[in-house]
Subunit: 530 residues, 2 copies
């Protein structure tokens, strides 16, 4: 499809907070969910499915807080199912909960695969049709805009197409604004989706046709796009593709493809630039490591490693990039590695405001130092502050501020059931003075951290601003069990900026000691620069 | 496409060891690469691209070791590029290296996008055609079967289709057996791929047409499948989709879809069952956490969480599974979580050989214990041994064997530049006897580990068989920095089986202490069961 003069709009319907929250290992508090909703509104999606008030008390809490959010762009949607088989819409507790969420738009899911009706619900096919029609009509009569999610629609179409289509007709009869075709098991192929969407489109020319795909065949994005090509005008998906089993359709990939490659309109151009930070926010709130390789928004998505690729990209980025990373708020990275060589060093130096040319001997010195460090297991992805300190060191700019002399850590658990008690003593030298002090802590790393800050803040009071926001430990070589090398990554913040530092040792406390030292040194270095 | 009586074969060409190795953070030793090759051969792929002997000394080492592997099914392929512009095929060092790899089949990559020829190489378009033709002919004359990778073919077709097609014609003229169409920047859409493949297929009916996709639009799998639909008969990809930027086409998703959903033949049915273990092997060798949400082979791919889904799957797995997990060697899992409830517990119990019925009071006891533990941050995915011990405990089967009384760990770094010295003392009780002993180690966790084994192996000599094969630390709540809760996961092996155990504390040593205790206890429990 070629870009059009006036691009056709596609509605974005985000279900990160409802279907996405089913992902294994993803757990969001009500406060987290509100943060995600605020960010989705900034991004400019049209609908935010907030949860299932009828099934989950936390979701009810969320909906109660929504009016206070002051959203400007997005509508928050409450989700529920058709009424229970042994009652009526009027007497169904779930539908009542759905109304009490007080949203303008509601989405209800119902069966459209005959096998589900007979096997899982165990009711006559006709009863399911009544449940769909009556539930939609009930909500519609109460001034709600209603979308109908046809669960397992594509599987239904494979086994009994007439029944699947009759379910949609029942929803249309009830007054639904849109029919959402779900590939619930995630096993459909793009051409099957396209063909079945076309059938629905023909039968319901006046309704919004939506699509809701799962990724069990690694085709959720392709299936969603094939749906849009065939006439779908609402795409349901989640940020980063979070969702149960293999996840939902990934809106972070679908949105830019629809807009930049297929000529549809999803978001204003300025808002599109929020895509990368939006994706990363979810990982941060969920306390999960971001998916490095994610298309468009991943840290590696525009990273270049081989020297040949880097030199080509320096000439013309399109030679190895399908799209300018700025469009989605991401950035080009040259990987700091002996493979990448000088171009990567120069690019980093520019980022740090250091002007270097390829001939400068410092570049060679940095490369050598870097190679030696990488050989020991250091890694500067995520520890850019340590890398900046390394570059400055290799260039002969000494900003030591202090020396870490030594430590002694003691961790003692007296008896079963008792909590262990950790104590650290540290010796540091600042100028000519040595400071020797001690602290206890929640575990040995925390004790070490507290003792170190205590020792140094006498000399550098601004260290009081620094907070550790993340602490990560990675075991490097699996084969040696507890004797392996460990890498500690620390992320610090002083309320203004965030920075990452790294330490490596076979000893987790020594590695933490290094990373803590770098964190503090970087704070001092940064403040002096200002 | 419907299944056929005699399925059309598709050649599988794995490039995990060459293009996959470009993935950020993936690092494989020569020994690792040989292990992957052996496993790919067991799996039954047709070609294993082993590396680029001309660009990398480690790859030369790999090829030297290949004949010793005794592969039964797969051919190992050496990879290189067309000869350099300022020399001839006869005098090109890279092509000479390619020959010295001594493989029956070689693949060479060349430019097919005019913009690359003029911008990156800076040579006349005609010269590139000669380089392609002469390089292929040179190798062919030396009895090699040659595949030509047409770099950026799809982008080339967009900008200057005639030139792109002429590049393919040059390779055909040189005597290539196959033409591999590369979506190097990974930005193509499935219908574009299909259309362009059809053009090539028509021009070269006698050659094998291959496809090599990248995942920058999250469409590498869909593009590969669209290619096969349009006539491609060789699919290049990597295990788990490893590769630079967003990765290569994921063979673990492509293979089962081609075979089970599109009616092509890729692997014998028995070999298909090795797919999951093959995928996990790569993560293990690379010491990376496996991608939980990966289609077909991921740990979550057939995991069910909500109670409604679990009860439906118990009636008929097809209700929420697009394919039986056994076909690809994966398995169904009910997530151990208060959401999942009794059905999950019963399924686990069956796995452990415990017969429970939903009415048994033990099931309630296990659920309660589990809920309490999960609330504290325990997680039993990857720590099934700890979970089995928990179930047995909750059922009143006491297998304590020993009590961990207490420990004292000391870690001391005397001066800058010195290595820290760690020492642990432990107190354990076995029967009525208390053992109090000490050990030093590489870091505090290792010291604790050694002291604990020393104390217990007096009583349980078979503990000498146990080795820790992995040690992982995860910080639970990022917000408290070094005072956060940490979860330690330990994987142990006694040469016969492997098991995982878990510990949680704000103190990394205490958490390790718990996980080590469970590891040893499980070994004793397991041996008694036999």
């Amino acid at each position: 499809m070629s870009p059009q003069a006036q691009p056709t709009p596609v509605e974005l319907y985000d279900t990160t907070l409802r279907d996405g929250a089913q992902a294994e290992g993803l757990s969001l508090s009500v406060e987290d969910k509100l943060k995600v909703a605020r960010q989705l509104d900034r991004l400019g999606v049209h609908y935010i499915e907030g949860g299932w008030p009828g099934s989950n008390p936390r979701d009810r809490e969320f909906f109660a807080a929504v009016p206070g959010l002051g959203l400007k762009q997005a509508q928050v949607v409450a989700f529920g199912s058709t009424h229970h088989a042994n009652t009526s819409a009027e007497n169904d507790a779930n539908l009542a909960e759905l109304l009490s969420a007080q949203t303008q738009t509601v989405t209800i899911v119902g069966k459209s695969w005959l096998r589900h009706v007979t096997t899982q619900l165990g009711i006559p096919p006709q009863r399911n049709l009544e449940m769909i029609r009556d539930s939609v009509a009930f909500l519609k009569a109460r001034e709600r805009q209603v979308y109908f999610d046809a669960e397992h629609f594509f599987d239904g179409m494979k086994e009994d197409p007439e029944y699947a289509l009759t379910c949609l007709a029942a929803a249309a009869e009830g007054g639904a604004r849109g029919l959402v075709l779900c590939d619930t098991n995630g096993g459909s192929l793009p051409w099957q989706v396209a063909e079945r969407v076309a059938v629905v489109k023909e039968r319901h020319p006046g309704l919004v046709i939506g699509i809701h795909c799962h990724n069990d065949g690694e085709l959720a994005v392709a299936n969603s796009l094939a749906g849009v090509e065939a006439g779908v005008r609402q795409v349901q998906g989640t940020l980063c593709g979070f969702g149960e089993r293999c996840g939902n359709a990934n809106l972070c990939s679908i949105i830019p493809t629809l807009q930049f490659k297929m000529g549809f309109h999803c978001l204003d151009e300025e808002r599109m630039k929020l895509l990368t930070e939006t994706a990363r926010l979810v990982y941060e709130l969920a306390n999960l490591p971001p998916q490095r390789f994610a298309p468009y928004v991943g840290q590696s998505a525009f990273s270049h490693k081989g020297g040949l690729h880097i030199s080509a990209v320096e000439k013309d980025p399109a030679l190895y990039e399908h799209l300018p990373p700025e469009l989605v708020g991401n950035q080009r990275r040259y990987l700091v590695s002996d493979l990448a060589g000088k171009a990567a060093i120069l690019q980093r130096a520019r980022q740090f405001g250091l002007e270097l040319s390829p001939e400068d001997p410092e570049v060679q010195a940095i490369l050598q130092e870097l190679k030696a460090r990488e050989g020991e297991g250091y890694q500067y992805e995520g520890a850019e502050a340590s890398f900046e300190l390394l570059m400055n060191r290799a260039m002969g700019h000494r900003h030591r501020y202090f020396d870490l002399v030594g430590f002694r850590v003691m961790d003692f658990k007296a008896a079963e059931g008792e909590l262990p008690l950790a104590e650290a003593t540290v010796r540091v030298r600042v100028g000519g003075m040595e400071e020797h002090t001690a602290a206890t802590g929640h575990g040995p790393v925390n004790a070490l951290d507290r003792a170190l800050r205590k020792a140094l803040s006498r000399f550098f009071p601004r260290l009081a601003e620094v907070r550790l926001v993340d602490y990560k430990v990675r075991v490097l070589a699996g084969a040696d069990g507890t004797a392996s090398q460990v890498r500690v990554l620390i992320e610090s913040s002083d309320g203004v900026s965030r920075w990452g530092t790294v330490g490596v040792s076979f000893d987790v406390l020594e590695a933490s000691w290094q990373a803590l030292g770098d964190s503090i040194r970087y704070k001092l270095f940064k403040d002096k620069q200002l």
